[in-house]
């Protein structure tokens, strides 16, 4: 009977997604296998002000030949962060001479909600922002995502997780909680921690590590 086969097909589909989901939960957060000599395309989500400063501090010590190409992304309303990222990248090129090719790209993303925006209009802006994030993620399909809040990183990480479930791209997501968070996680941090979206979760104060045992305590970045 047609109804019976539809039900069977649906059940199979749901089961398949469930199994895939469990597989993801089993393997995310686990180090990638073997020794790696390849490069990783890397998406760097810049927050603003202090967040950006911390992120660029991390970028200054990461080996650029491993994390390449690098895509920097910032909110469309934040015109300082990409400028600072570009300054850091340019200083690398200058330090290395002219031989290094430009491996960094700079992108802007719509924000779902600006500070003080009403909740009614934010339904629409959230939809636009999510669609934009999806468009960018389909284009970039990064293998590594580095983020440290605030909210800009949430749609990007959610889509990256969806790509994992669908088998489009297995990206490793690293979240670094801001140094300003001493006792409580930020909302972005809490979401990514609780939903186990972040493969590795770093905190800068020991008290947070005690509260969130899956987090890695890495000391202060600033």
């Amino acid at each position: 009977m047609a109804v019976g086969s539809v039900v069977a097909a649906l059940t199979a589909l749901v089961l398949l997604i469930l199994i895939r989901f469990l597989y993801i939960l089993r393997w995310s957060g686990k180090p990638l296998h073997g020794k790696s000599w390849r490069t990783y395309s890397t998406l760097i989500v810049l927050g603003s002000g202090g967040h950006t400063a911390e992120m660029l501090n991390l970028l200054s010590v990461l080996q650029k030949d491993r994390f390449t190409p690098r895509f920097y992304i910032a909110a469309a309303t934040d015109n300082m962060s990409l400028q600072k990222a570009r300054m850091m990248e340019d200083s690398l090129i200058n330090a290395a001479g002219v031989k290094v090719e430009e491996t960094a790209k700079y992108l802007q993303i719509y924000r779902s909600r600006e500070v003080g925006q009403s909740y009614v209009t934010s339904v629409w802006t959230t939809l636009v922002a999510t669609a934009h994030a999806l468009y960018l993620m389909i284009q970039l399909r990064p293998e590594v995502i580095l983020c440290n809040g605030p909210g800009t990183c949430i749609p990007l990480c959610a889509i990256a997780f969806l790509f994992k479930v669908l088998g489009i791209r297995w990206s490793s997501i690293f979240y670094m909680e801001s140094i300003a968070r001493v006792k409580r996680l930020s909302l972005s941090g809490l979401l990514l921690y609780k939903l186990q979206v972040a493969d590795q979760f770093f905190v800068q104060w020991p008290e947070l590590q005690r509260k969130y045992p899956r987090a890695e305590y890495v000391g202060c970045l600033m």
């Binding site: 180090p31 990638l32 296998h33 073997g34 020794k35 790696s36 990783y40 002000g49 202090g50 400063a53 501090n57 991390l58 200054s60 010590v61 990461l62 080996q63 491993r66 590594v144 580095l146 490793s172 690293f174 670094m176 801001s178 140094i179 300003a180 968070r181 001493v182 006792k183 409580r184 930020s186 493969d199 590795q200 770093f202 800068q204 104060w205 890695e216 890495v218 000391g219 202060c220 970045l221 600033m222």
Partner: protein, 178 residues
């Protein structure tokens, strides 16, 4: 510490910064008689206020009556120059301003903005105050903090290091340690 001779005596500037925020409560506080008297009593001669997006403009003064020289502006691309030439910094609780000041080794009083809704920034200021890297105050009690502070007892802040995070990320991805 960046003191310049001004003909009469060493110039000791207090720099007040609110970053890109609106923090009229702090600008009002440093505009009060109590705070300015305490600053004078501690040997400071000049007060420069970066008032950001606030609407309250403090009173300027050229210090003729022996009081502080007071000046203000809204924004400047060279905040770091003001920090560098200051003998004391009074700042809002933004992590950018805090670490920039600490890195320059300037005595710092962080004033917490109690009007902010989700005020997680007090956490950082209080933690660093507990570790004796700075003083933490509320706008109304700023004069008291200035009167009671002992800037010599503040401990220098050793800048953090991103290397441990980089190591974790590299290991996770299977890169060998260098």
């Amino acid at each position: 510490m960046g003191d310049a001779e001004d003909g009469v005596g060493p110039k000791r500037t207090v720099f007040v910064t609110v970053g890109t925020t609106c923090f009229d409560a702090l600008v009002r506080a440093v505009d009060t008689r109590e705070v300015q008297q305490e600053l004078s009593a501690r040997g400071y001669t000049d007060l420069v206020i970066q008032m950001g997006r606030g609407t309250y403009a403090p009173k300027k003064s050229n210090g003729e009556d022996g009081s502080l020289v007071v000046d203000y502006f809204t924004f400047s691309p060279s905040i770091v120059d003001y920090l560098r030439s200051a003998s004391l910094v009074i700042s809002h609780a933004g992590s950018g301003s805090i670490f920039e000041t600490l890195r320059l080794g300037k005595p710092l009083i962080v004033v917490v903005n109690e009007d902010l809704m989700d005020n997680h920034q007090t956490e950082l200021a209080e933690e660093l105050a507990e570790r004796k890297h700075l003083y933490c105050a509320r706008p109304q009690a700023l004069y008291k903090t200035i009167a009671d502070m002992d800037v010599e007892s503040l401990l220098p802040y050793v800048s953090g290091d991103a290397a441990p995070v980089a190591k974790h990320i590299n290991r996770f991805l299977g890169f060998p340690d260098d």
